[in-house]
Symmetry: C2
Subunit: 482 residues, 2 copies
């Protein structure tokens, strides 16, 4: 199947020959679009109202042969993309955990793509590498994390795309450390809260373990792991010849913000030589504030710790921060070096090649985004914003608790409030549907002991008292008597 | 450790309360910086000249407490980041495989961060989901991929962050399919070229397999897998009770652009019930041009196929495209559904939740970037650009082959040219160092049968004949007589 190729004219003009000219010509209209979107975001239904298939049906089934203009692309954003978007950046988004963005993150993404760095090795991105190490030291300082996670010792931080990937690489480090110590894969067993995030199970499955190699430990009334049951489970497994290799604690479970007892769990892990991983993907940001640092009590026992600046710290997907107390087991699990990556810098001491800290080989200069966010907000600004979110959530919890129709059945110490209508699950479920149908807010749900709970996570970049007032007015108006 | 919290003022002004105002105020200066960087990129040494530790030493060891201005951040880009950057977007970057960006990708990244979509479920991002399905159908059409990969049948495409991740999830699908069929993990064995990318080995290790479960098959003089040896290896393994579960073919190996015999390898895989994965991460883009589609002969036998628009199709890291002929084994390997993700749309037929096609839960609206690139370039524009790169590479290969000092020992049918100085490895190695020391170009190297080869990959967004002329002039000037 050979075809005579046309003789190419490699100097033909097109959008590719002059990137500077293209950005100069169209950057302003794209920025203007972004400003308008951000200004008008409250005018759209928070959750997209389109039916499955609608978006695709609006767009051509075949790619264009000829270049289209930015005016056409931007018009399609308004015509198709915006109606087809669930507006994660709307102040009325209270669902799941937020994934907040901010202007510094938006502008930094444009810079990251402009530089186009692929920082797999120190050599291919010295700034990409060193700013990442620095900015994770900065964040460790802001969160007052244990010294063991700083890069000046055996530990350090690395950016992953998601908490799922952070937990996966911690799992791989733990797995391979146990195998090197002689354990068989089939004998390994991990422990986590019954309320732990699904990424714990997914990470173990990716790593080759089967479902029965994850022991989900029951929780107490506050949805924290029962240490007594963890200890019993570990002892029973050891007696049966299995090898406890990993204990995962959660700070702020996805369902209800349960906080596991880190110190006890860490001590159990240490006693049995298991890796201790702490998942604070969402709630970890609260540790910016000294009054909330109780959530990290016992974190000094952790081998690894993850929190996501892309959830509650304005950094926009995808920027998950993972720290390890000892980087060697991570590198042991993830380093593979072919000839074409050999170079003088990597062969010497003193440089980090972050490809050895992650599954992918290539990597973007994501650190620049976190660097811009921390600098533009300042540590005080980040702390004020997070403290504000918590105050707003507490205000809502107070209003709910003071109203006879509602119950707030679990502690809500931070920015997640779960509540139920006292008339029962059907009424709660209908209230959620009615709230979301207004288009003004989006809430998601969970079930605890079979009971249906509405969840309100308060962490949007531009959320303020007026939005919580509106949410309360809607709840008050739409909820029937108890 | 409880501390009386300050009473927060949740309406205090800051960069977070008014994202629209912040983008309006500072977007123009960030765009102006991007235009200047792109205009001046040829003025910097292609490979950063800084020593390890220099970047960090220029920056404050502690995070700022107070908000800093964009003027300070942009000044630091020029003062620290640019000198510390290896300029992947410079036209003189010929190292590794390129990771090219373009103006449409830069502008689309700003839009993606502005929308801030987290498209884990169809429901949380209908447009994020449906544009992804559509645009991968578009790309399959542009590359003339087998019909089996289109979304209107059992198959479809999905965006991953890297070819490493694409190969990993294909490996997981293959592994779990084999386990469901009764194979033990320890008995599984995979096959790939001795020149296959390191991500194949890394993916298997992540999946829990040991080093001896990857059989690296020797290559012929053109660096393509020897099918006779593959067949012998499979037969020997089966006779020994092992289970061949995956065959990986490479289209355009990283070292030398070797192209494996897909049809024979695919037939071997089918005969033995193994998953057939094809890695065309870089070279796959050449299939835009009918005259280069011979590289995909036999692709109709593949279970999965990866190519990276972020390498040679102007889409900026990180956008790897993976297609599968049957999506079910992928979803079987990667789906875990907790209560808080249950929703009506996912419970019905007809929507895709891409979280079940990848390791992470969260995902960005990366499809918008590929959509913008395809529309702005047009299919013809993409084809012209790739064809131009190949013509430029062929021109260089011709000059090298016509010069007594050099040898081009391997076929170079596309945009990668490997060459050696006939005076031997030491001279070749010194030539590479001397070329890179000019700061005008960056080349990387490989070793084949112990021999040192210089590599020139021609695929930069703004590379043109004048840059290849400059490269040739440098080679001509710096190379000693044979």
């Amino acid at each position: 199947m050979t075809v005579d190729p046309p003789v190419p004219d490699v100097s033909a003009p097109g959008p590719w020959t002059d990137p500077a000219g293209e950005v100069a010509a169209h950057g302003p209209e794209v920025m203007a679009w972004a400003v308008r979107y951000l200004s008008e975001v409250t005018q759209h239904p928070v959750l997209s109202q389109v039916e499955p298939g609608w978006v695709r049906a609006q767009l051509p089934e075949h790619p264009p042969a000829q270049s289209e203009g930015w005016d056409e692309i931007l018009a399609d954003l308004d015509r198709v993309i915006v109606p087809g978007t669930s507006h994660w950046q709307a102040p009325g988004w209270y669902g799941y955990f937020q994934a907040n963005s901010s202007a510094p993150a938006v502008l930094a993404e444009a810079i990251i793509a402009t530089l186009g760095t692929q920082g797999m090795l120190w050599r291919t991105g010295p700034a990409c590498t060193e700013v990442e190490t620095l900015v994770l030291d900065w964040l460790a300082e802001l969160l007052d994390l244990p010294r063991s996670f700083r890069s000046d010792g055996a530990g350090g931080g690395v950016i992953q795309d998601s908490a799922s990937s952070s937990t996966l690489v911690a799992t791989l480090a733990a797995r391979d450390r146990a195998r090197r110590a002689g354990a068989r894969l089939d004998d390994l067993v991990a422990y986590a809260s019954a309320d732990a995030h699904s990424s714990v199970e997914k990470g173990l499955r990716v790593a080759g373990l089967m479902g029965d190699q994850l022991h989900l430990v029951a929780v107490d009334a506050h949805r924290a792991v029962r240490s007594d049951l963890l200890i019993k489970a570990v002892q029973a497994d050891r007696a049966a010849g299995r090898v406890p290799f990993m204990v995962v604690a959660t700070v702020g479970t996805t369902s209800t913000h349960g906080v596991d007892p880190l110190r006890t769990m860490g001590e159990v892990a240490r006693e049995h030589g298991a890796w201790f991983h702490v998942d604070a993907a969402h709630a970890g940001a609260a540790a910016l504030c000294p009054e909330h640092r109780w959530i990290h009590d016992g974190l000094d026992l952790a081998d690894s710790y993850v929190m996501d600046p892309h959830k509650w710290l304005f950094t926009a997907m995808d920027l998950s921060a993972l720290w390890v107390a000892d980087r060697q087991p991570l590198v042991d699990a993830l380093s593979v070096t072919p000839e074409y990556l050999h170079n003088t810098a990597s062969g010497s001491d003193g440089v980090i090649d972050y490809r050895d800290w992650q599954v992918p080989l290539g990597r973007r200069f994501r650190a620049l985004k976190l660097w811009a966010v921390i600098r533009r907000f300042g540590g005080d600004g980040l702390r004020d914003a997070v403290r504000g979110h918590i105050a707003l959530a507490q205000g809502l919890a107070g209003r709910l608790a003071a109203d006879d129709r509602f119950e707030v059945p679990l502690p809500a110490p931070l920015n997640l409030v779960c509540f139920a209508h006292r008339a029962g699950d059907e009424v709660s479920e209908k209230l959620l549907a009615d709230l979301n149908a207004t288009g003004r807010v989006f809430l998601s749900h969970t079930r605890i002991e079979g009971r249906y709970l509405l969840r309100v996570a308060v962490g949007q970049t531009s959320v303020g008292p007026e939005h919580l007032d509106e949410l309360w007015d809607l709840i008050d108006r739409l909820a029937p008597p108890a």
